[in-house]
Structures are given as C-alpha cells and as structure tokens.
C-alpha cells in the first residue's frame, strides 16, 4: 500500500535523531559511580526513561524500535525463502494473514502444530512451513549481540506486537494444552535450578527489590505484571536493540547460569503464557522502552 510506504519513509527520517537516546536515558550509569551519586543515578536513569516515555507518547515514531516494526512489516509482506512467498498466509490464530489483534491472544494452541506457541515460535513455524526456511538455521544463534539489530524473527515479532497496540492482553485458554502451558509456566516460574539455585521467583516475586541498582518487577503480581508485560518486545537502551519477550527470558536464564534456552521451545513459551495470563487485561504498548 502506497500510504504505508509513505509512513515508513517518515519513520525512517525521524530515526536520524535517535542516536542520542542512550545518553538521555542511562546518564552516568555506565561509569563507575561515586558513592554519593548512586541514588542520584537511579533517579536520573528513571527520570531519563520517564522523560523519554513522555516523548514517546507525544510522538510514538521516536522510539528506535519503530525501525524494527518497519523492517518486520517489510519482512512479513515480501516474498522470501526457498519458496519465495510472503507471510500473508501465516495464521497467527485469527486466520491466515490476520495480524491485527493476533498478538493480544498469544500464546495460544495451534491445531496444525498441535502445541501452544507464542509470537516467536509461530513466526518460526510459518517461516519454515510456508517460506521453506530451514528450522535449525533459524534457531541457531537467534539473538543479536549488544549494539546489533534484532534478527528477522525479532523484527517480525515486533511488527506483530505493534499491530495489537492499544488492545488488552487476553489469552483465551480454551484448549486443555493452553491450560497446561499456563500451569507449567507457573511451576517453572518457581522452579529453582542451576549453580545459583535461582528461580524466576528469586528475583521477581517480592515488591521493591533490586539487583545492584536495577529494579526488579514482581511479575507474579497481576498489578505489577500488567504494567510491564505488554511493553515487550521493547527497545533496550543499555544493549541498543529490540529484545523480544523470549530474548528477555533467555537473558534472565543467562543470569541464572543456565545454558542457552532454545527459541520457541516449551519452557519460554510456557513462561510467557504465565506472564501474559498474570498480566491479563494489561494494555499492549509495544514496542516499549527499557533501561
């Protein structure tokens, strides 16, 4: 559609001013902190993010993550892969090609795959089954290093999430496998493991805790989960790229000293189901912006 292309061009132009963002938000945090400045630094960082969020409200296109919404949209609509087809035939749960509103009901059960999938898992499925990409290649090193743009799956997921903006997280949970995914996700949230004995709950169950200076949202509490879960995928300022929810979870497993969890596998999907169900009714505001 010409109008969409036009919009895309406008977005691309505004991006040029965004390179200053890391400075605005992180302030002095990356430097070793003089003791008396630590609390100030937390406040400054929070204020930076707050200020930036206000800018985003006034002008949503100023989020660098919009770059990946654009890229994801192009990737979705362009014929690609060995079969040279677009993803317009991809069924995200609301019928082939329906992207609007689909993210609000993910993760969900898909009959063709006979399993519960989140956005990333479903995108991989469609890239494999429709476009003919090799699954193993898609799943190898799926996340970018710091400063590098999110990979194709991440850009596609960002586009898909963006198309549900303003809607509420509303997992359907009609199918027994959806109910099982939720129960599994909850159990996994409290499962301790690895050489640090960490569970997600170690860091994300209690109010007002932090690791060093980083605040830890209590994700098992609906009020708190509703504030943050709908912001993913999000542009993460400290690593200069968009991270999907699965990438965020992968990063937390890194902190837990666990090996690299497979993208789209049962554990991150079940955890996402638990997070989304806990945040049910929270508004989708993606891509968000994180520290």
């Amino acid at each position: 559609m010409p109008q969409q292309q036009e919009e895309g061009r406008v977005r691309r132009v505004r991006r040029a001013t965004l390179w200053l963002l890391p400075w605005v938000v992180t302030g002095g945090l990356e430097i070793t902190l003089a003791p008396s400045l630590a609390q100030d630094a937390i406040d400054a960082s929070e204020k930076g993010i707050q200020r930036y969020r206000q800018m985003l409200k006034a002008d949503p296109w100023s989020n660098p993550a919009m770059l990946d919404v654009d890229r994801g949209e192009a990737l979705w609509k362009t014929p690609r892969g060995p079969k040279a087809v677009s993803l317009d035939g991809c069924d995200l749960g609301k019928g082939p090609g329906v992207v609007k509103g689909a993210f609000a009901e993910l993760p969900r059960y898909f009959t063709d795959a006979d399993r519960v999938m989140d956005a990333e898992a479903r995108i991989v499925w469609c890239m494999e089954k429709l476009q003919g990409f090799e699954r193993a290649a898609l799943l190898k090193n799926p996340y970018p290093g710091g400063g590098r743009a999110t990979k194709d799956i991440g850009a596609l997921a960002t586009y898909v999430a963006y198309e549900s903006n303003g809607q509420k997280l509303m997992p359907t949970l009609d199918h027994p496998k959806e109910k099982e995914a939720l129960a599994l996700g909850e159990a996994l949230f409290f499962r301790r493991g690895g050489p640090m004995d960490f569970a997600c709950a170690t860091c994300h169950a209690d109010q007002g805790k932090r690791i060093r200076l980083q605040g830890l949202p209590p994700l098992s509490k609906p009020v708190e989960a509703r504030k943050v879960v709908g912001e993913w995928p999000a542009y993460r300022v400290s690593s200069n790229h968009v991270m999907t929810m699965e990438h965020r979870i992968y990063d937390c497993f890194w902190q837990m000293r666990m090996p690299e969890v497979d993208l789209g596998s049962e554990v991150p999907v079940a955890l996402t189901m638990y997070l989304v169900k806990t945040a049910e009714g929270g508004e989708i505001n993606a891509p968000g912006l994180k520290r």
Binding site: K179, L188, F190, G194, G208, R212, L213, E260, V267
Partner: protein
C-alpha cells in the same frame, strides 16, 4: 438398591469431575521433560544444570515454604555438605574478599573459557561497605555486620557456613549455596568471611 448405586456412582465420580475442572497439576517429572526439550543445544558438560537436586526440587515444590519435617531434612542434608579449611582458620584476606564481593563473574555461558576467578556477587543482593551505594536489596544489609556482632568467633563460623551453604541455616533460603554448589572455593569463602567479619574491613568502618 439401584438408587443407592446411582448415588454411590455419583459420589464416586464427583472428585474426578471437579479435579478435571481445575488446572492441570504439574509435577517435577513433567517440568523435567519440558526442560530437557527446551535446552537441546546445551553442551554435555552443562547437562547437570538441567536437573535439580533433592533440595531444589523440594523448595520448588513448596515454593520455598516447606513443611517442618521437609525443612529439617533439608537443613540436615545441607549441613553435611559444608567443608572446612584443614587448619581450621576461617578468616582470610578482606581485600581479596572485597574484590570477590564486587564481582559477579562466573558460570554464565559467556564466561567460558574462564578469564578470571568466579566472584561472590554479594553486592548484587546486599549492602556491605558504606562506601558502595550500588548494592541490591534481595538480601538484608550487612553494613557493620562484624562490628555489631563484636567480631565473635561464633559469628565468624556462622558467616562461613552461611556463605558455604545458606540452606544449612534456613531451608530454601534464596541466597545461592556458593560453596556447596562449587561456585566458590574454601579459600575464597575465607576471604569473604574476612570482608564481612574483620575489624579492619570497610564493611565495619
């Protein structure tokens, strides 16, 4: 008679019917299957990280709030894991301890091959020296910990035990079992004890 059977049948079916309406129960075997299938690319030497020991399994099952008998079993088992220095000296070098308390290095998949020794990462969760304000709050403040305990020998041992294996003190404690899990050596733990418990350490100034 048929009426009696009917009632009996209904009663017999009731619990099953209500159970199936509840959310499915996930036991540790079900979780383990999911975990195995979600880490297919983990190298062989990482496989042990995918399984739980008895303590982890019990703490997960009871969400860190185990019934008394289970808690007692955990504390007894974890106590038995603690190894002490051959010479019995529990206090090392606080300066080395300070570095270890600051360092979160070690055990992450980006930390291999090791470039330096593992850290204790105490500041991630605790306030220690008054001079360091970049500290976490998952654990209690340890500011002036040794001083407030008059540097007593009993407390020196208690801190050694706590770092080696906090679950020898409190079942299902959130603090990692840094010694028992092999993340820190006896020497490193001694240095950390010195950082928390010696009178010349900045923690107690």
């Amino acid at each position: 008679m048929p009426a009696f059977f009917l009632v009996a049948l209904i009663i017999a079916l009731l619990p099953a019917a209500s159970a199936s309406a509840q959310s499915p129960v996930i036991d540790s075997a079900r979780m383990q299957t999911a975990v195995k299938q979600s880490w297919t690319q983990a190298p062989p030497e990482w496989q042990t990280r995918l399984t739980q020991d008895e303590t982890m399994a019990a703490c997960s099952q009871y969400r860190n709030n185990p019934p008394r008998v289970v808690a007692q079993t955990i504390v007894a088992r974890e106590k038995a894991s603690i190894k002490y220095p051959a010479d019995g000296k529990l206090i090392g070098d606080w300066k080395k301890g300070q570095k270890l308390a600051q360092s979160g290095y070690g055990g992450r998949f980006t930390d291999y091959p090791p470039r330096t020794e593992n850290g204790g990462n105490c500041y991630a969760c605790h306030q220690l020296s008054g001079g360091e304000l970049s500290f976490g709050t998952l654990g209690p403040s340890l500011l002036e910990y040794g001083k407030s305990r008059k540097f007593s020998e009993a407390d020196v041992k208690a801190v050694y035990d706590r770092i080696y294996n906090p679950q020898a003190v409190v079942a299902c404690a959130s603090m990692p079992r840094l010694g028992a899990n092999g993340h820190l050596s006896i020497e490193q733990i001694k240095d950390l004890v010195a950082y928390v418990m010696s009178s010349d350490s900045p923690v107690n100034k």
